[in-house]
Amino acid sequence: MTIATWVAERLKEAKDVEDIDVLAGNVIRVSRLKYPPFLAGIVSAPRVERETIQSLVEGKHEIEIIANIPKDSFLTGNALNLARGHEIAAGGFGDLLRVLTRPDVRSFVPAETAFIERGLGQHRRVARFRQLHDRLYQIYLRNDDQSDVVAVMLNEYELTAEHIRAARDRYGPFAIVVKTNPNGHPTKAAFEVAGQLSADVLTWGEFLSHLNSL
């Protein structure tokens, strides 16, 4: 069974779906009860690079969203930029379920990304920001130095030392770990490891306050 077939079987169980057709090259057509059908490109990779999705994005099908299926995967900045440049949404399997009830699939942004970017965009000390990878942001500040800070946004409920180390392996150095999940707390070991990596661990509210002090 291909990954596209697997996704099609799961999506057929959703109540807003009329039918799913698996087309060639890991593309599926999702026919919906309330809105027009759309095409989705399906990939399955722990790390999604530009090359991973290039053939889908630039292929003959007019796909509106790319969904990467593995749960703990990540989308690199290059992949996100490629998708964005072609006005194609990008996300995971859960996001594919979420767009079933949206009239405009192309403009979909995962909820957490949308909250983060709105918060940054509205902050008076933030001149601009850049999404380096799916969870890594470079934030340019309105100050005399025009300095910038790199922050990783982690949504874990119990943010552990292992999460911090895995983020460091995946994204490289960062100065701030922002816990975006409104529930839960970082563990004591998470704070210790972050300190060893010269990073602060902050809640979202603490992070926004911290930007004021930079």
Binding site: E112, N183, T203
Partner: protein, 230 residues
Amino acid sequence: MPCSRGAAHPNRVTSLRLFASSAGYCQNPNCLDPLFVETGTAAVHIAEMAHLIAAIDGGPRTDPALSDEARGSFDNLILLCANCHTIIDKAPDDFPVPMLQEWKHVHRKRIELAFGLRLYADRAGARTAVEPLLRQNLHVFQELGPDNDYRYNPESELASVWRRKMLSVILPNNRKLLAIADANRGHLSADELGTIEAFRQHVDDLEAKHVTESTDPASRFPLAFNTLFS
């Protein structure tokens, strides 16, 4: 006041649990004095955490082989008024460890009876007692639990609603469920007895997380508990 100031001093969670288990009364069944007293202008407590086996070698009911950790554990502590604590430690031979363990057991049974906990005639009876509590907890978890999509909004107010419901609904229900399960152990299979122990640890972990704000990871709810007594 704790019995010992040394390494066998109970941690914050154990202290909390000890106070909770006393329901605010001396655990000597022949005393039962209230441990919190209003004097008119103040509220004072006369509770003392007494060790069953001495915190320090050579103390009352000593056992040098017992580790410091065990000495400070919940099972080795009893909450008494100042008088009873003084008496049992000044005459330890008249108050051996099995007697003090029985005091705690009897005290717990009194509290359970006060809550109307009962031994049911059969599994179906026990099931009728646990099912509404399980259903209520499940509803709160499904509507407000941390797996919901609001977790992607760092500013969601639902997080504080979840915390409130955890303290006001889920944790108290968990204690009732555990008490019903313990009171009706005779109706359970060996596997189900294991499930109760997993649930007991889950309850303990959740209380540590949400009451004392421990940052230790909490064990997940054992799904088999949903069908207890079914």
